[in-house]
Subunit: 310 residues, 3 copies
């Protein structure tokens, strides 16, 4: 029996571990409650609020019988007046708990934390950096719907420049899931960055870039839609307006869905604005709420594998 | 064995259910702890902070062995930058828990939530709308003190225009408890609204309106005092000053209490400002802290009846 | 079997009780989990955020199998709009739980709360007043490292005027631990206040005052370093700059540590800014993170002794 180490980025996993995570997640779908983590404490240390992610982790911990201490206000630890370093905060908190779920506002926070923590760290998003458990639940959702992640045509759509989730998902697909085909569909100004394209090339994953669906819809297996991240355009509201305008034609509505395969699925990391119309929600291909729920099972699996072993 | 459905408004209950709630609440008074709700998770989803109400629900859940995930910061779900709808938030959160306690800042929030939730919703206050569990604990307090809610003279006092609790209590009394007499005592500017008066008329509940107690004090069985809701006068501070000045003569002090019956009770939904003097607190007729504690038992009863059945 | 009463200030303990607290804390060091407090609820009622202290108490409660209801937002109870008194809030909350951990922004809050609470209160810091559990964990740390708190040379260093922890620690040492020698080392402007010096004199505890270490370092057993409390200088930023400049020579760095005894220990209540250099952290004499962890064991001991007995 081995234990999963800290979860810092998407690249750290080998394929065997991924399969074990997904297998464990599947077992978790039937566990409404267990005492597996009785006596274990998770600290939710969120330097910026993210109620959805925090709830998902905390519900996972509690479904397994564990306990939680929680703050969405962790910046207080390092407030201007008090000025404590992340490293010191982590050393203190890791003396109180068995695992730390960390949301940090700057890239690299999880890695820094991991160097000083006496307990494992889970990266729950670090600024423009990574959000590896989101990528895991995305993969799990694809696998659950198609059995295998192979031979699929996967479109990532929307604000690909700022989207943390599409970046992490691309890393995973390139490294562990050969034989799929990726389509980056976005306004030119927020196209996928070159580092990811280079990474895909290195692993020989086929990708194409476009600013509209053209006649692609009937071919796709997965549409991974994302919202335009308004908060990243704070300094350039005109650019935001332009990107929103150019994203109009990428909105998923019932008309577009009607052109898709019966077996296709529509994903979204949520929150969703208008980039998927509410009218689509009842279509059986709309999987974004199921995707959110899968986050619970994947996080239960990770906590079990970190704190008990596998 | 049946289960109580979502609790959205005061009008939804029939009298038989009310009696079962009160009976269960009574049993709960002796339960300092049980494992009845072991493995169940309640999400406290508060779009505005209300520590008192949240603590009461969370303590109720925990006294019964259940677990809680909690936020007072739920607006983050629907922040300007992210802009998620209440409906989407509810669909996600209802995938993580077994019941949602929702405080929403706009009327109708609980009803909207209930249409999309996969788990039962408890309305913990929705703007100027309803706060049905408060009304239940008010009724329970009256019943506990008088045995039956019949033949009582009940004065509702203070800012009746803005008071959510007196409105909900009036609905209950009109529909289920005939044979009581209601007195609305308030400055003219914040008198009880016509919709409630019409509702009382429809159910033939006798009511009178006044702007002072005059010689009513020795006759009353219940004084339900409320505070002037300053926050509702944000746009008209002069009106606030006037209402406060006219409320002076409605302040409950020891002199007024001395005119009341030995068996009378003084209630208040809290928080209390100066509308009941601190000197009254030690009088055995002062029941407002007992009333707050009754909230715990009523909410334990509701959670038990929703999640286990009755 | 007796139960520990509310913990309001450092002066309330007799020496026998202190010894029992430390003995119980020692037992707690081996308890990763127990069911000792199953069914008990602690309310964390924080009128200002202090994530470190709150986490420490909540982890203590949960390690012992207890439950927590928690807010860092308790001022909402007494917001301008609502205006509830601390006394009323306490009366309500004490109806929901078995013990209240109170952080209040004004001196005397814990004492006031204790007069109205139906359950024991633990003072988790009240403004410029006391923070007795911090003083207990400080003493415990000294005792753990030296076996006995006797014949030690203890330097308290830094902003002694504003430092709550050094004040409480001085009270304890004066009253219960004769035969030690205290050195107050600080810029003149933030020297230890006279009330503490008088108190030490009354108990014949030897103390000296200085504004630098001079040739003291090789003699000291304990250096208790503290940060300059910038937030207390809000109205006088120039004074802050001066104090920081004069504190330069008090910074603990590796050069200073090299002059200290092998057996000496360096303490700090945290958060730490630059008054102890990061380079010192790996020296075995650096005990400030161990000190923070000791807080967990001391708080477990207190909760056990309050809620179960000893």
């Amino acid at each position: 029996m081995q234990k999963l180490a800290s979860i810092i980025d998407a690249q750290q996993f080998d394929q065997k571990t991924l399969e074990q995570i997904f297998e464990t997640a599947k077992e978790m779908e039937n566990k409404t409650h267990s005492d597996l983590l009785k006596g274990k404490i998770m600290a939710s240390l969120f330097y910026e609020p993210s109620t959805r992610t925090r709830f998902s982790f905390e519900a996972a911990m509690k479904r397994l019988g564990g306990e939680v201490i929680s703050t969405e206000n962790a910046k207080e630890f390092s407030s201007k007046a008090k000025g404590e370093s992340l490293e010191d905060s982590i050393r203190v908190v890791s003396g109180y708990c068995d695992v730390i779920t960390l949301r940090y506002h700057k890239e690299g926070g999880a890695k820094r934390a991991n160097e000083y923590s006496r307990v494992p760290i889970i990266n729950a998003g670090d600024g423009a950096g990574q959000h590896p458990t989101q990528a895991l639940l995305d993969l799990y959702t694809i696998k659950k719907n198609f059995g295998e992640i192979r031979g699929l045509k996967i479109a990532m759509v929307g604000d690909l420049w700022n989207g943390r989730t599409v970046r992490s998902l691309s890393y995973f697909l390139a490294k562990h899931y050969p034989g799929n085909e990726i389509f980056f569909i976005s306004p030119g100004r927020v196209a996928m960055r070159d580092d990811i394209k280079d990474y895909l090339n290195r692993y020989n994953l086929s990708w194409t870039e476009a600013d509209s669906f053209e006649d692609l819809l009937p071919e796709l297996d997965v549409i991974y839609q994302t919202r335009v991240q308004k908060e990243r355009f704070a300094e350039d509201p005109t650019a935001y307006e332009e990107v929103v305008a150019e994203s109009e034609k990428l909105i998923i509505d019932r008309q577009k869905v009607s052109q898709m395969k019966r077996s296709a699925i529509i994903m979204h990391p949520l929150p969703r604005l208008s980039e998927i119309r509410y009218g689509v929600d009842k279509d059986p291909r709309a999987k974004y709420f199921e995707q959110a729920e899968n986050g619970l099972y994947v996080r239960m699996a990770l906590l079990k594998m970190m704190l008990v072993g596998y």
